[in-house]
């Protein structure tokens, strides 16, 4: 109730005059001790001690909003007013809430926020967080946060001066569910629809968005104007600026062509190729952001691109004679899937013939699903007598089977449906409709599920409690037209259930049905639940 004076640069606080009696002698140390022992538990021992010793001195309760008196060693619960009684009888006017560390003033009968005391509280909390071992965090569906290691995330707080300014300037860009902020069209620079679609997909990748909007990129390039990551950061600023006119991504094009020269050229290009090239350049330019952890492998650092997009593909080659298995794991950014109708043999069983309903896809007979394609991708493949592998067990060349499975799934999984066929005789586009789901469970395709698939049968029931491998669709890139000339458009997801169609400069609302009925060329899925490693 009392607005504390103080410098304009300080955070706004609302203390009270009754704390002056407390702020004597060693009060800071005492307060620290209280925070360390009874409020913020940094280690297992302090946690245990807190649990054992913090009980109400009057009723023995250990919950009920327990408070500690600031003047003496007394714990009392708030709910039963035991701490109030103590305050009255002993005239100890301040108490601290042991759960959140707030200071309660019995004279004001309210929690107060004293600048100095809050400073101590913040410092102690930070210390405790650093000591804490990791705990997995289950995050709500489609909302993700990533915090740094040992660092408690603290929200921005305005200083007094800033508050004043904000009060005088009440217009804001507030992001609600029915809001255009975050969406923006992109001008086609001359056959650059392939680039525009990838940009739309990337700017709507939640983790990437959060990374850039929280300013996590620290540029270490010689000249920041040639850094593609900086340009990406600018792109996010443009998308969240509230501008309605489409953005002109000419600097982006210039940077990509400069850093990925094989892509340069005005002719129509492939969106998938552009995605891989863009990720590669971003990854190379991300050197400053890997939190000081330089992995030995230059291709797998800890940059944001690797954290989000890199998965591990396990390849097991089994010798048919000695049954020895040779395993390699390669990193990947995308999974390219063959389609029926291509000249390669597809799934030996007709799609959906085993009658199972997987991933909520109903098998209209004859419709190929994304799951069918994934099953084919992960099936054991007999390599044939013309492709014998040198087996280290048998010390000779033997026939073998090869099988691919996912060792580690990326946070964002990109599926590339191979619609452009180039074989010796044929160059064409495969327009077979492939149905893909809104939610996808990748468990059957994991290396860990491999054993049950050895005989090519899909049998494993989906474990609804295991959320590790659940993915949600958030972007679809489509191609219309022929092999030689065509046009790319994309669908992107915003605010959980809203979809928008992005056709270069034109952004329109789309229905989920529009999205799922579309042909599908690149499919972007995002992990639903994130955990620390």
């Amino acid at each position: 109730r009392i607005d504390e004076g103080g410098s304009d640069m300080s955070p706004p606080a609302a203390g009270c005059c009754h704390v002056t009696g407390f702020k004597v002698e060693n009060w800071k140390q005492n307060l620290r001790a209280i925070y360390q022992c009874f409020v913020w538990s940094g280690s297992a021992e302090t946690r245990k001690r807190k649990a054992k010793s913090c009980i109400c001195h009057m009723c023995g309760a250990h919950l009920n909003r327990l408070h500690s008196c600031l003047y003496c060693v007394f714990f009392g619960c708030f709910t039963k007013k035991h701490i109030h009684e103590h305050a009255k009888t002993k005239r100890h006017n301040l108490a601290i809430d042991l759960l959140y560390g707030g200071i309660y003033c019995f004279m004001c009968q309210d929690y107060i926020y004293d600048k100095d005391m809050e400073q101590i509280a913040k410092e102690e909390q930070r210390k405790a967080w650093k000591l804490q071992a990791f705990t997995p965090t289950v995050v709500s569906h489609y909302q993700c946060t990533m915090t740094g290691i040992g660092e408690k995330y603290s929200t921005w707080e305005p200083t007094k001066r800033e508050l004043e300014l904000l009060r005088h300037n009440p217009k804001r860009r507030k992001i609600t569910t029915n809001c255009t902020i975050g969406l923006r069209g992109l001008i086609n620079l001359g056959n650059t629809c392939f680039m525009n679609c990838i940009v739309q997909a990337l700017t709507h990748t939640p983790l990437l968005r959060d990374f850039f909007l929280s300013d996590r990129h620290k540029c270490e390039m010689q000249s920041p104007s040639s850094c593609l990551v900086c340009e990406m950061s600018t792109l996010f600023q443009e998308f969240y600026s509230g501008h309605r006119s489409p953005h002109i991504p000419y600097r982006l094009l210039h940077l990509v062509w400069t850093h990925a020269r094989h892509l340069a050229g005005y002719e129509q290009q492939d969106a998938h190729e552009f995605l891989i090239a863009a990720l590669d350049v971003l990854h190379r330019h991300c050197k400053g952001d890997d939190n000081g952890k330089k992995a030995n492998n230059p291709n797998h650092c800890n940059c944001i691109i690797d954290q989000i997009f890199t998965g591990g593909l396990q390849s097991d080659v089994t010798c048919q004679v000695c049954h020895g298995v040779s395993t390699t794991i390669d990193p990947f950014w995308d999974i390219s899937l063959d389609l029926p109708g291509s000249s390669t043999p597809f799934w030996p069983l007709s799609p959906g013939s085993d009658g199972s309903v997987v991933n909520g896809e109903s098998h209209v007979s004859g419709t190929t699903t994304l799951t069918d394609c994934l099953r084919r991708f992960t099936r054991p493949e007999h390599l044939g007598s013309s492709a014998k592998i040198k087996c280290s067990g048998c010390h000779s060349y033997q026939e073998s089977t090869k099988q691919l499975t996912m060792k580690k799934l990326p946070i964002v999984a990109c599926f590339h449906l191979k619609r452009f066929e180039h074989s010796a005789k044929l160059r064409r586009k495969i327009t077979t409709y492939v149905s893909f789901p809104l939610e996808l469970d990748m468990t059957p395709f994991m290396a860990s599920s491999k054993e049950s698939r050895m005989n090519g049968q899909y049998q494993q029931p989906t474990d609804s409690l295991n959320n590790d491998n659940k993915y949600s669709l958030f972007a679809v890139v489509n191609h219309q037209g022929t092999l030689e000339s065509g046009h790319y458009t994309s669908f992107i997801r915003q605010h959980k259930d809203q979809w928008f169609k992005c056709d270069d400069a034109i952004i329109t609302k789309a229905s989920i049905k529009d999205v799922l009925d579309s042909e599908g060329y690149l499919l972007f899925y995002h992990k639903q639940f994130l955990e620390y490693e």
Binding site: R173, T180, G190, P331, H422, T508
Partner: protein, 340 residues
């Protein structure tokens, strides 16, 4: 409630459930309390109002869902006049033509070296008509279908009536077919798509037109039978390719060289993306793409021939890129001769 140490081992399911439920409700309550504190502090310290915005601003950013307009309520296709400044040459360029400009500007296009060579040659020759021809080449290049250069250039040379580039207003949108249903009509699209024509139509077409298929756009050249950009050899081969071995040029002579457009070449050209530096595999060499048993170079999709630089002006070679050695063609006299 009192706190006591207890072992969980002796308890039955219902007790365990009760304990779990208790813990759950405690956690929910604590979480709610935390939220209350946040709000309380925001109100007390005076920054709670920050979240709000006035209703007008809210309206400003509301999504519009009406036919004919985008989500911002804007009519489609009003962005023709956008411009940008080229980071390379600092000129102001129309945004929708920035890509072809940049390609030339950075010297990485297919035609860049040809154009560059020609410019060098013409500046050596100081021949006015040469430089006019040079402009013409850009414009008459039927593999690019960009509209006219808005800059004032003197174009004295004849407008080739066979050039598909006559009308400048029609834009070639991202490679969409120009919506021209009549394949025989000269239009501003980059030629004719031979795939859509039947054999009779093709035959008839090829009696009057050059017909050589561009490597880049895969369309047939619509110039005359004596078009200077392609050789007779190429014209012969495209007829063989499209109409069978018995086909020949109306005024045919010479050997039947089965060259010209070769489907198999295109895939051989586009090798895997080469990433520099590392000994370990980069995710861009995705094993998943290699994984399929499709023997073809499946990564090449719509990408046309890449950046190979061309020798300027040698007749017959200018519009195709071939990796296999080409037997020297007898040079037909053409305007390109001076370059060599």
């Amino acid at each position: 409630m009192k706190m006591e140490e207890m072992s969980l081992s002796g308890l039955d399911n219902s007790k365990l459930e009760a304990i779990a439920h208790e813990i759950y409700t405690d956690l929910v309550e604590d979480a709610c309390l935390g939220l209350c504190f946040e709000v309380h502090r925001a109100v007390k310290c005076g920054y709670f109002f920050l979240d709000d915005t006035d209703p007008d601003s809210m309206k400003d950013f509301e999504i519009v869902d009406q036919p004919g307009v985008d989500i911002f309520g804007q009519v489609y296709n009003q962005w023709k006049n956008k411009e940008c400044v080229c980071p390379n040459c600092s000129r102001s360029i129309a945004a929708s033509r920035f890509a072809p400009h940049l390609e030339k500007c950075l010297g990485m296009g297919r035609n860049s070296s040809r154009i560059a060579n020609r410019r060098i040659a013409s500046s050596n020759n100081m021949n006015k008509s040469e430089s006019d021809q040079e402009d013409n080449d850009d414009i008459n290049d039927n593999d690019w279908s960009y509209g006219s250069e808005k800059k004032a250039k003197k174009r004295k040379s004849d407008k080739n009536p066979n050039s598909p580039r006559r009308s400048k207003s029609l834009k070639h949108k991202n490679g969409e077919l120009s919506g021209n249903s009549d394949p025989f009509k000269y239009s501003n699209s980059s030629g004719i798509n031979y795939e859509t024509l039947g054999p009779e139509e093709l035959r008839s077409l090829l009696t009057t037109q050059c017909g050589v298929i561009s490597e880049h756009t895969k369309k047939m050249c619509t110039r005359s039978l004596r078009c200077p950009q392609h050789t007779d050899e190429q014209r012969r081969s495209v007829r063989v390719y499209l109409l069978g071995p018995s086909a020949s040029l109306p005024e045919a002579e010479g050997s039947m060289e089965n060259e010209g457009f070769d489907v198999a070449e295109s895939q051989a050209l586009m090798s895997r993306l080469q990433w520099d530096g590392s000994s370990d595999i980069s995710p861009s060499d995705s094993a998943s793409s290699k994984a399929s048993t499709n023997n073809s170079e499946s990564r090449k999709t719509k990408k046309k021939k890449p950046h190979l630089s061309l020798v300027g002006g040698t007749p017959g070679l200018s519009s195709s890129k071939k990796k296999k050695p080409k037997p020297p063609a007898p040079p037909t006299p053409s305007i390109y001769d001076d370059i060599n």
